[in-house]
Point group: C2
């Protein structure tokens, strides 16, 4: 789970994830959207893969990346939960500014 947040900490990686929303893309397709060298992006892919945020699938000579939505959902809702942010249903515990002893 830490890996997920580490992965999300970089803007380029977040943008990669956004691009993948529309469907799988090859490394090259993604690279076309960035002003970064391909090896740099390949590194980002590796981080995303290790966080299990994307899956890889080779198809001939090109490699397609596919968003792994459920992992992201789980991480985010896990954090929200641990923070007590109600997702709508879970009635907020809301400690509401309990002023300290003063």
């Amino acid at each position: 789970m830490n890996r997920v947040f580490k992965a999300l900490a970089d803007p380029s990686r977040r943008r990669i994830l956004q691009l993948l929303r529309e469907g799988p893309l090859s490394a090259g397709d993604i690279a076309r959207h960035f002003d970064l060298a391909k090896p740099t992006l390949s590194g980002h892919f590796a981080v995303l893969r290790e966080a299990d945020l994307v899956d890889q699938e080779r198809q001939g000579t090109t490699i397609y990346y596919r968003l792994n939505l459920s992992v992201m959902e789980e991480a985010l809702s896990g954090l929200m939960d641990s923070m007590g942010i109600g997702q709508g249903e879970r009635a907020a515990h809301s400690p509401g500014l309990v002023k300290p002893g003063k």
Copy 2:
């Protein structure tokens, strides 16, 4: 918004935020929960403050930190939104494995 994700990328900082869920705590109170030197924690507080995830309030010689829930909510739901993760209401667009040209 980038600052928020950067801030969330560190486990100690996430734990600090969790502690603050229950209500405001002084820097010293928080420090008692960690095995880190106070200057180190002070640095974490600074990061959280710059991300606007916590507010500071001096009370005599001690400084209380208070969770800024709304900023976190906004950042997370902003990300979920940009990722197309429905928060319940927004019907998922769900591109669902559109296999590429093949």
